[in-house]
Symmetry: C2
Subunit: 432 residues, 2 copies
């Protein structure tokens, strides 16, 4: 609100003021980063942004694909309205995509699919649908910080953080995630008169890169079913599992205790590296949730041209499964190994991961003391060295000292970024 | 909600249930229309849809333009995120567009522009910004029915209808619209403890096609300023004034009593015939409204490709001002005269208009009695003749008997539609 807050001349609603006020002070840093982005040629003194979750490792393949789609004559109908919840043809493509890549256990009906304008819109719509203002959705933490904004800014649904326990002494590894932990936090919330309506499950997880096993998923589903909770299955990283030893199971592929309470979401931003598209989908068998999504679909309509572009990509099963995805996975694996090995050589520990686009860096040993203040000091050291990484506090991580780095950026960017990260680590070593 | 409403297994939030329930029963007809659309070749027995507000009269020009934009090599950056509120370059284009076509009275700063994903999103965002849940925004009626959904469905802001008086005996003409009428409804609302936060002014008006004069606008602005009300200037039909004798004045071109309380919106759907694009803009000088729009811009981000396409079109000032718009206006004028003359020959009266894309048809003489039941009976006659027109009740018109027809459709569609409309009128004549 700044200096205008008390000025009746500029008056806005109470809720809008609150939305502005709860914006994280961290945004100041993000503004600084966006205002002075590193470029190896035009701005080598700029800030290297290792914070923005984009996968550019297969830009060459995608640009080539785009050229071929661009060459297709565009029907004049793309200029005009169609059904707000997505064209019949886009819904068919979405169904085939699920069939091809997520191994659904029951037949997908495209009538249960709603095409939307990005995952942010999908999560907000589901929050409005399943919870009233002031109610809660459980979210295992750490989590992508924008999830809080997505469901809270306008839908006014609160996040109930469920901090995961790291199975870690010196070597970080899988997070502990089970119905006991969830039950404990659920009961605590109930005893505080909080109304809990659902659980938002991001699998694979941002920032940790953890992929839940089938057993873990079934355990969590059983917990949700016991309390009649909705489950939002955010699987936006479903096709970003690059370690061949890790098996990813979509919730759509599992026997669900109550299929009407599971709502699947996916978008093109992460898995296809198409964050500029603003397109996503919701699949739900719940007739009321579906009715609601259709009722408010004018707010979430994806542009026709983008629906057309996405269809051309996801309908090309051969290209995706034989060219794009295998290439992407092998490039991700190679890059992940290079970067983590470099970081480890300089004493950093890395949470074991084989999915998403993040290195979840354990720098607890580099903190002056085990506090979030010390984490912030380390973050500011990175900033003064002009490299932007996301501190765990901003991702609602329980313990101080974790940092998230995106490793799927252009080579000159990631190289310079990691060079700067390592410089900070070396400086810290000398001071400790 | 249907048969699932009471079923706890399908439970959704109270607000989502309400949103579904307040959906107009009229939607059943719209579904029927969408499910069986007339096509002269493939479905001549289908329903002719004269209800959907699209301007296809310059499709030939726009398709040609699109081909040239399509041929431009697309930068890979279009694949990725940029600033959620619109790229710097798109904001610059939007500024130039306002400068070129709306004659702004003060210098437009592109920092005050937010690019959004369609007018629906823009109106909703402004509703969230200026009013809290349960508060009111005044809207002169009749108005485009979706305005109610746009501000009510999720933002929970109510519409305070301000019915306009028609200056009409036998020959319908301009609506009476002034601060006295607004003051009367404002005071009545205040006395009922309603909190009124703003007025939403659609100029030119949908459905009447009325264009407010400079004096009328200044009078309304003075009223708004007296009560410190926000003014949402919805000018989505700004470039759809086809009668050369009518002068359209954008609110941006007038001396505003309080510039901080006027928020301008425009989108590409109507004036450019690009409803499939889902792109719009908000321009506001109010620093708090602007902050809020930026805070929630992740919900309203337009796709990069669409921003690029729109820029290529609105930056081509010469083409717009010398080719597209003059051609559009002359085609609209010709079509309007043809259709209204045909309708008048069959005894229909037409509200005088020279803007938007509607014929606002006065069929009061064709009603069995002056009631909305009779209006609905006439509507059902049109439906049984397989032509869809929008009855005034759905547009919150005060008096029964008015119908809205879109005249800017493809020739075979409008021809068959008007033939069916006239058939119904002839049948009515015989029965009266």
């Amino acid at each position: 609100m700044g200096s205008h807050a008390g000025n009746e001349q500029f008056r806005i609603s109470k809720r809008a003021s609150q939305t502005i006020e709860i914006a994280s002070p961290f945004l100041v840093h993000i503004q600084a980063v966006l205002g002075n982005p590193f470029d190896p040629l035009t701005n080598p003194e700029g800030i290297v942004n290792l914070g923005i979750a984009e996968n550019k490792l297969c830009e060459d393949l995608m640009v080539e694909k785009m050229k071929s789609v661009q060459a297709i004559e565009e029907s004049p109908c793309l200029l005009y309205y169609d059904v707000n919840s997505g064209t019949a043809s886009a819904k068919k493509s979405a169904k085939r995509f699920i069939d091809n890549f997520l191994n659904p256990i029951t037949e997908i009906d495209e009538k249960n699919i709603v095409i939307m304008s990005g995952l942010t819109s999908s999560l907000e719509t589901l929050a409005f649908a399943i919870a009233d203002s002031g109610e809660y959705i459980m979210v295992p933490s750490p989590y992508y910080f924008r999830i809080r904004n997505d469901i809270q800014d306008r839908a006014e649904v609160n996040v109930l953080n469920v901090p995961l326990q790291y199975k870690t002494d010196h070597k970080p590894s899988m997070c502990e995630m089970n119905s006991e932990i969830l039950e404990e936090y659920y009961q605590k919330a109930i005893s505080e008169n909080k109304v809990v309506r659902g659980i938002l499950l991001s699998n694979p997880n941002n920032p940790s890169g953890d992929v839940l096993t089938e057993d873990q998923l079934l355990d969590i589903l059983e917990f949700a079913n016991r309390h009649n909770l909705h489950v939002i299955a955010n699987e936006i990283y479903a096709l970003s599992v690059f370690d061949p030893e890790i098996t990813f199971k979509s919730l759509l592929s599992l026997p669900l205790p109550n299929p009407n309470m599971v709502h699947f979401t996916w978008g093109s931003s992460k898995d296809l590296g198409l964050s500029g598209f603003r397109i996503s989908m919701v699949y739900t068998k719940n007739p009321n949730v579906l009715s609601y999504c259709l009722s408010v679909s004018a707010f979430t309509t994806a542009s026709r041209l983008i629906q057309h572009r996405l269809q051309e990509i996801i309908d090309d099963k051969d290209w995706l499964s034989k060219v794009f995805l295998p290439t992407k996975f092998s490039r991700m694996q190679k890059r992940y190994q290079e970067i983590t090995s470099q970081l480890r050589q300089h004493g950093a520990r890395v949470h074991t991961s084989g999915a998403t686009m993040f290195i979840w860096l354990d720098l607890r040993e580099f903190l002056q003391e085990p506090t979030f203040d010390a984490e912030n000091s380390l973050f500011l050291k990175f900033m003064s060295e002009k490299v932007f990484v996301v501190p765990g506090k901003e991702l609602y991580n329980q313990d101080p000292g974790m940092f998230r780095i995106v490793f799927t950026l252009d080579e000159p960017v990631i190289k310079e970024g990691i060079r700067r990260v390592i410089k900070v680590l070396q400086d810290c070593r000398r001071q400790l």
